[in-house]
Structures are given as structure tokens and as C-alpha cells.
């Protein structure tokens, strides 16, 4: 279908793509399966401009019983991909929970229960302006098996190997 330089470049691209897919698949499959789901009680403390814990490592299927406390000013806790936005008041055990999918209703509670069903990396961000560095106040919830990381590492090596193969192939080209 393609011949000459275009065909040659197309083959180069396919070689790199094949290496990326193969190495990415190896990385994806190499990620260890998480242990059985468990229930975890976690208190998240917010301060200007960080959350404690900064990184929350959980497993897919875990049930999280989350409570919040702010050490200084009003903060928010917006969890990406989980329809959860919390308003945290300074030194108060109660907080206000809103579902971004239905933003008009909210409730004040002392605990919110969340079952994490999707693996991956989700950032939680402050959603109430809390000071100068507010837009950068965030933490990370990493839900194992976070296959994106080993898959992307594999794909990175795939790019290296693929480009090596393409260059070696050029050596033999006319």
C-alpha cells in the first residue's frame, strides 16, 4: 500500500508502537494484585497548604471511613473522580459534605464513608480559597493496583527499545 520513504517511515512508526504496546502490556500485567479489601478509618488534617496524610495509599475495594479536621482556616477536600467535596471548618469535628454531581444539597456530618472501586491515582485538592498557595494545596490517593505507573514505565522503555530497533534497522537500509 505504501512504498518508498513513506512506507519506510510507517514501518518505523509501527515498530516503535509495537515495542510500546508490548512493554506497556508487560508493565500493566506485572502490577501485583492488591490484598483483599478492608475497612480503614482515616482522619485527614488540613492546614495551609497541605493535607496530612499527604499521600493516602489504599487498595481497590477498600471502604474508607473519612473524618476531617482543619488546623487553621476553612479548607476543602475535593477528591477527583469520586463525586466528593468536603468543607472543613477550623478545629470542628463536623464538616459539610457536597456531591459535585448534585451541588445544591449538602449535609453536615462527622464521618463520610467511601468505597474505592477504581484503581489509579486521584488527587484531593483544597476547594475553598484558603490563602495565597490555595490552588496548589493537594494530596494524593493512590489506589492499588495503580497499573498506570508500571504500564507507563513499560511504555517508556518500549519507546527506547523501539527507537533503538528502528535505528538499527536503518543501518541495513539502502
Amino acid at each position: 500500500m505504501f512504498s518508498g520513504k513513506v512506507g519506510y517511515q510507517l514501518k518505523d512508526a509501527l515498530i516503535v508502537l509495537a515495542a510500546v504496546v508490548a512493554c506497556g502490556a508487560v508493565g500493566y500485567l506485572a502490577a501485583p494484585e492488591p490484598p483483599p479489601p478492608q475497612e480503614r478509618a482515616i482522619t485527614i488534617r488540613a492546614r495551609q497548604y497541605a493535607f496530612e496524610p499527604e499521600v493516602l495509599r489504599v487498595n481497590r475495594g477498600d471502604t474508607l471511613r473519612l473524618s476531617f479536621i482543619s488546623e487553621d482556616v476553612v479548607h476543602g477536600f475535593f477528591l477527583e473522580g469520586h463525586d466528593l467535596d468536603v468543607k472543613i471548618f477550623p478545629l470542628e469535628p463536623e464538616f459539610e459534605v457536597t456531591r459535585p454531581s448534585s451541588p445544591d444539597s449538602s449535609e453536615r456530618v462527622r464521618e463520610v464513608v467511601l468505597t474505592v472501586e477504581k484503581e489509579g491515582k486521584y488527587r484531593y485538592r483544597c476547594s475553598h480559597t484558603c490563602g495565597y498557595m490555595h490552588p496548589f494545596m493537594q494530596g494524593e490517593m493512590i489506589v492499588a493496583p495503580n497499573r498506570l505507573l508500571p504500564a507507563s514505565m513499560g511504555m517508556g522503555f518500549g519507546v527506547l527499545l523501539g527507537s533503538l530497533a528502528v535505528t538499527a534497522r536503518r543501518r541495513k537500509s539502502p
Binding site: P135, N146, S152, M153, G156, L160, S163
Partner: protein, 505 residues
């Protein structure tokens, strides 16, 4: 005036022929001349008022931003200067303008407006002397450079500063205080206002756009990453230029000003120091200038260590910013946010790591990989400098992609602030367009890591492809090229894996 006369222009960075890699001296590939394809565009950029017409609205907007920064809300995400400049403008600059339109920002940039006005004493018109009169200074004030008349001191820019080292260090210094710059409207006002003032003073002291070429901290990285851009100004036919006796593009004429960047458009073979002002399109008596659309990453030649170090600085900054602004580590944020945290010790550590990493550690690791590659490849003709500069080039497309990957979440996550500040630019409670109360709404934040990984993979693939090509050009034999570039290829891959860990791990 000839090319050698132009002191304020393309930085002179080790351009001796023997220092220049043999490969890619003339960039190849297909070009589409937009000026010939789109006559309306040709008409537009040929108007004398073109640049004034595109700068003026930008200048007015910029003045509004300065007012908002000075008198509006001190909270960054409630003030238009911070939201528009550091979220919207930054992403458009690095993610759209540079890759697709080279230094188009320089076409519309308000920084040199007042200086150039005072230097030319004209906003639209041209001051020129007809060479046929033979009398150069009689009866007219100002200084004649080429065939254009300028005002101010019109000194030559000092040769010792004729590189982008000042821009490298200035940018690094500014970025050291990035947490203040990105979050305090008043700091943005002071910095951006000072840059306008400095540009004006330098225009009065030095000829042409010395500020843009040698001082502007934005211009430094624009010059580097514009190499990758899909747009270029070039002469359409080199033979026509060779036979041209007028050289209006450089010396100016009654149709326009000589190149304000001091480059000789006829010999332009890189985008680095072309500000797309379009004066050469106006001044060319042979209608021989082209505005070409071309493939991504066509310019592949770094000319000096200043440009190489710019690539290192930009990569190190992207890594540092990804940790500070996209990472979860509160202590790092405290270190950079020194005016609030008062953690001076932490700030000193951060500054030392940032400067040491940018100027010494990263270049050192890279130099080691280059040295190892040369050793493994065995005897060859290319000099150490040629190989080093050739192998640093892949950091240009990779660095640009890394910066886009870093900037993407800033726009997607905080983009809704743009709607708020459009209606309430000063943060005073206005609601001009009914969008002031729009809730903060991140756009697809959970997809950001996937987009970042995809971008970085593309960047790595392109960097490695250009790296092998550079190696083949330098070492001539494929086997040697493969071995010589291998250590650098590993360093590039490991660098990208570090970003994967930050963004996806």
C-alpha cells in the same frame, strides 16, 4: 548597515563553522508558504499598522491587569492578573503559541511597546532616508542606522553579553521566587511592570531590540522552544536574496524598519531570534519573504552552550515545579512560600538545590553520558562541543512537551477561575458577565495523568528520534551513532520515567 553592523540581534553564541554540527545546517522537509496560500494574510501583515494593531489591544489588556494587580484582591485566584497571566496566558504560550506559531507572542508583546515608540518616535510610520540623496544626516535629527532613523543613544549591545546567558540567569532568578510570582498579584505587578520599565530604558540606550534579544526572561525560553515550532519566516528563494542590492530587510527602507532583532532574514535558518514582527515582509523589494508552515521540530541545531544550558534550566525547573506545585508535599510548599512560612532555611535549601540542579547536576549527568557515548563509539571526527550540543538538542522538543504536561493540569483544574475573574477582574464583588459566582470546577482532573503520560511518551519518542539523527550526522556510521547516543538515550528515558513517577505514581 550590514549583518555585522547589527549589534542588537541574534545572540552570538559560538557560531564558528567548525563548532557547528555538520548535520541539519539547512533544515529540510516540505513547506507551505502561508503568505502565498492566503493572500488576505499577506495583505494584513504587509500593512504598516499591522504590529501596532495587534499590540495595542494586548497593551490595554495588560495595563488593566497591572491595575487589577495593584488595586484588586490580594488573593491570586480572585485577581485577573494572576489567573490570566499565569494560568491562561502561560498555557496558551507554551501549549499553543510556541509549538504552532513560534515567537508569535513577540509579535504582540507589550513589553517593548514604549521603548520602541521612543526609539523610533513613530508607532506606525517609518523614518527613512532615501539613499539616492547621498546625504545621511542633513536637516534631520536622530541617528541613521541603515536607512532608518532612530532616537536615543543607539549604542551597540556589549559583545560580552551577546548571548542568552543573561536570560538564563534572569529566568532562573525569577523562577526561584515563582511561588510569590504565581500567587501574589502585587508581585506580578512589580515584576511585569519592572520588565516594561527595563525594556523602555534599554531601548533608549541600545539599538534595536536589545532587551528582547538579550534580557527578556520570557524571550530566552521562547527562543529555544521556537526551534520546534511549525511556523517560520524565511526567504522564499535564497538566490534572489543573494542578488539583492537593496537589503531592505536588514537596513530598512521607506517601506519598513530594518530587522529589529538584528538578524539578516535572508540567512535565517533557525527560529530562535526571529520575533515575527513581519517588517522584512514589508521591506523586501522582491516579495521574497515567506511565512512557512513546516513539520514540528525542524530546526535542530543548537549554536552555543548558553542555548544548551537554557535547555537544562528549563527541564530542571519543570521537574522542580512538578514536585512543588503538582505534588502533595507540604514542606516543599513551605520552603518556596517563604514570605508566609518564614522558613528561610528551607528556602535557602530549595534555592541551592534548584540552582545547583539546573546549572551543575543535570548538565553534569548529561555531560557524563555524552562523554561515555563518545568513548564507547571510538575514534571519530566530531569535536566534544559538536557532540555535546548535538546531543543536548533532544532536550528541546522533550522540554517543551514536559512543560506542556506540567501546565495542562493548571489549566484543566483551575481554568474555571478564568470565568470568575472575567466578571470580577479586581475581585471587588462585581459580576459584569454573570459568571462571577461560577463554582470552581476542575475539568476531567482524573484524566490528567493519562494525558500527561501520553504527552511524555510522544515527547520521548521525538527526542530519541532526533537524537539518533543527530548521532548519525555526527558519527556518519550507524553503528557508531547507535553506541554513541545510547547513554544519552538512557538518560532521556530515565528523565521521562521520573516524570511518570511524579504524575502517575
Amino acid at each position: 548597515m550590514n549583518a555585522e553592523d547589527s549589534s542588537a540581534g541574534a545572540p552570538r553564541t559560538g557560531q564558528a563553522p567548525e563548532d557547528t554540527p555538520a548535520i541539519a545546517r539547512v533544515s529540510n522537509g516540505r513547506r507551505i508558504d502561508l503568505l502565498r496560500k492566503i493572500p488576505q494574510l499577506k495583505w494584513l501583515v504587509s500593512r504598516r499598522w499591522f504590529q501596532f494593531a495587534v499590540v495595542l489591544p494586548n497593551l490595554l489588556l495588560f495595563l488593566l491587569f497591572l491595575l487589577a494587580g495593584a488595586f484588586g484582591s490580594p488573593v491570586g485566584n480572585r485577581n485577573i492578573i494572576v489567573v490570566f497571566v499565569w494560568i491562561l496566558w502561560w498555557f496558551l504560550l507554551i501549549g499553543v503559541m510556541v509549538p504552532f506559531a513560534s515567537r508569535i507572542w513577540c509579535t504582540v508583546c507589550p513589553f517593548p511597546f514604549f521603548g520602541e515608540w521612543l526609539q523610533r518616535r513613530a508607532l506606525v510610520a517609518v523614518r527613512s532616508t532615501d539613499p539616492r540623496q547621498g546625504k545621511r544626516n542633513e536637516g534631520e535629527s536622530g541617528m541613521l542606522l541603515g536607512r532608518n532613523r532612530y532616537f536615543g543613544r543607539n549604542r551597540r549591545w556589549p559583545r560580552v553579553l551577546s548571548s542568552i546567558w543573561l536570560q538564563n540567569l534572569g529566568f532562573l532568578a525569577l523562577c526561584t521566587f515563582s511561588a510569590l510570582l504565581l500567587t501574589r498579584p502585587l508581585v506580578s505587578v512589580v515584576v511585569l511592570g519592572s520588565l516594561i520599565l527595563l525594556a523602555t530604558v534599554l531601548h533608549l540606550l541600545y539599538r534595536h531590540r536589545a532587551f528582547c534579544s538579550y534580557v527578556c526572561p520570557v524571550g530566552g525560553f521562547l527562543s529555544l522552544y521556537a526551534m520546534t515550532s511549525m511556523l517560520e519566516v524565511r526567504s522564499a528563494d535564497a538566490d534572489v536574496c543573494a542578488q539583492c542590492g537593496d537589503k531592505g530587510c536588514l537596513a530598512g527602507n521607506e517601506a519598513g524598519w530594518g530587522c529589529a532583532w538584528g538578524v539578516y532574514p535572508s540567512k535565517l535558518d533557525r527560529n530562535n531570534y526571529c520575533g515575527l514582527c513581519m517588517e522584512c515582509v514589508k521591506t523586501c523589494p522582491h516579495d521574497n519573504m515567506a511565512l512557512n508552515l513546516r513539520a514540528f521540530g525542524t530546526d535542530t541545531r543548537l549554536k552555543g552552550y548558553d542555548e544548551a544550558w537554557k535547555a537544562f534550566i528549563m527541564l530542571a525547573l519543570a521537574l522542580a515545579y512538578s514536585m512543588i506545585f503538582l505534588g502533595p508535599w507540604g514542606s516543599l510548599k513551605d520552603w518556596v512560600n517563604v514570605s508566609e512560612s518564614r522558613n528561610f532555611e528551607g528556602f535557602l535549601v530549595y534555592t541551592a538545590v534548584l540552582w545547583g540542579g539546573s546549572l551543575v547536576v543535570l548538565p553534569g549527568i548529561y555531560a557524563l553520558a555524552v562523554w561515555l557515548g563518545r568513548k564507547l563509539a571510538g575514534p571519530h571526527d566530531a569535536s566534544a562541543k559538536q557532540v555535546f550540543l548535538g546531543f543536548v538538542y533532544p532536550l528541546v522538543p522533550l522540554g517543551l512537551v514536559v512543560w506542556i504536561a506540567f501546565s495542562l493540569p493548571l489549566l484543566l483544574v483551575n481554568g474555571s477561575y478564568i470565568l470568575m475573574v472575567i466578571s470580577d477582574p479586581f475581585g471587588w464583588g462585581w459580576d459584569l458577565f454573570g459568571t462571577a459566582q461560577v463554582a470552581w470546577t476542575p475539568i476531567l482532573p482524573q484524566w490528567v495523568p493519562y494525558l500527561q503520560v501520553a504527552l511524555l511518551l510522544l515527547g520521548l519518542a521525538f527526542a530519541l528520534k532526533t537524537g539518533w539523527e543527530q548521532a548519525t550526522g555526527l558519527f556518519h556510521q550507524h553503528g557508531k551513532a547507535l553506541i554513541a547516543f545510547a547513554p544519552v538515550a538512557v538518560v532521556l528515558t530515565m528523565t521521562v520515567l521520573c516524570f511518570f513517577k511524579l504524575y502517575a505514581g
